[in-house]
Symmetry: C2
């Protein structure tokens, strides 16, 4: 099988949100991500490779030239492996009260990807994003997840609806703010959903009004701020520890 000029143009276009939304497709690049995609039950549209052995071993893979891969990639140095996937649609099922994390307006793709990767580590496989959060199908998000994205369910919901939904299911909202209780002193239980705000704007006003628990990561004088994905990681570790105590 060969890649047509139209195929190449199509894959290239998936670097843009508009074309991802139109086609409901997105890409993942690199051997690790392609392997994780193949292991998952997400729908694969096509696979492209410059690696003969890989093309031989994978019936679905289309052998392309280095030039063709360079035309398709979103990476600075293209990998020999690229997969096009269909955007999944998950039914949001909160009745069994899974561990959830709410991402409120995270704009930086690298931060969102790293947060998804960390969530996966701590067994938080349901991520609820407000609609002003960067889409998880952005190539930079996908790369930063290192494949964790294929083990998570990510839902995109307008803020008001998101708050109503989690409250209906008896979750309580715990969010990181500048003037809250030190995180390690808080009484966190499995029905607490962790809310992470953006690095520059924090948690939105609407979401802040809905918080049941306001927490802070205690630091030292003189320092200024933490990266959003670092703050998320520290809180996820703390919540994971406390959730586990309740098992």
């Amino acid at each position: 099988m060969q890649a047509s000029k139209n195929d190449i143009k199509f894959v290239r276009s998936l670097g843009q949100k508009k074309f991802r939304q139109e086609s409901q497709c997105f890409i993942a690049e690199g051997l690790k991500l392609v392997q994780e995609a193949l292991k998952s039950d997400w729908t694969i549209v096509s696979i492209y490779t410059t690696d003969d052995d890989f093309a031989m071993a994978n019936a679905q893979a289309i052998r392309v030239s280095t030039n063709e891969m360079e035309s398709m990639t979103q990476l600075n140095s293209p990998s020999p492996y690229l997969v096009v996937l269909r955007m999944p649609s998950f039914d949001l099922e909160l009745t069994s009260l899974p561990r959830i994390c709410i991402l409120d307006g995270i704009q930086d793709p690298g931060n969102l990807g790293t947060i998804i990767r960390t969530a996966d580590w701590f067994g938080i496989r349901h991520l609820l994003c407000t609609t002003n959060t960067v889409e998880f199908t952005n190539p930079k998000v996908i790369q930063a997840t290192m494949g964790s994205v294929f083990r998570c369910q990510i839902h995109c919901i307008p803020t008001a609806q998101l708050i109503e939904l989690v409250k209906q299911h008896h979750y309580q909202l715990a969010g990181a703010v500048l003037d809250g209780e030190p995180a390690y002193q808080c009484n966190v239980h499995p029905q607490h959903a962790l809310v992470i705000g953006s690095e520059s704007h924090g948690i939105s006003e609407q979401m802040q009004d809905a918080l049941d628990l306001r927490i802070t990561i205690a630091g030292e004088e003189g320092a200024e701020s933490l990266n959003a994905s670092i703050a998320a990681g520290i809180l996820m570790a703390e919540f994971h520890r406390k959730w586990t105590l309740h098992l």
Copy 2:
């Protein structure tokens, strides 16, 4: 004052390690970083700006054109502010047993920068890097520190010498490995130095042999790995909490 062609060429060259080493200079870009540099006691060589008001207010600042700034910058979209600094040399003073963190072979500049920023948050102002760690004067490291770098002392020391030095000062080495004790159960005291390894290779063999405490960040089945700066952040938060208990 105007920037000469040679000035511009010199600033541009500081994107490369070789020229940073030769000149013992490095750059920081963006208003935040330039302001933090000005607040610090680090030696400023020159400041360039495309902003008239800033040039008026800062006698040291040299007004440059947008084109000139584009020739000097290491950023994809140049900021109006760029500062050239002299590399600091710190006397390593461990007799008062400050909180220290050891960075063992961290290669990714973004990770190192984020780790420096997080260390600053937790009051760890002495960072000891093995010589195979990316230099902190790499522009991507500097950007990711968000200015924290100017509040820290970073020392670059060959591994064997580093281990000897910290042991002489009665530090114990605590490092994150895959098969250690859960971090939150460990008995950490102020004389524990936290060792962070690289994301791909972990802590080097030589350093592993010197560890007094082997710790792990407990996660859930199925997940694979944490980003190095996230692991560092989680452990710094835990160590900070335990160090503080000993005050």
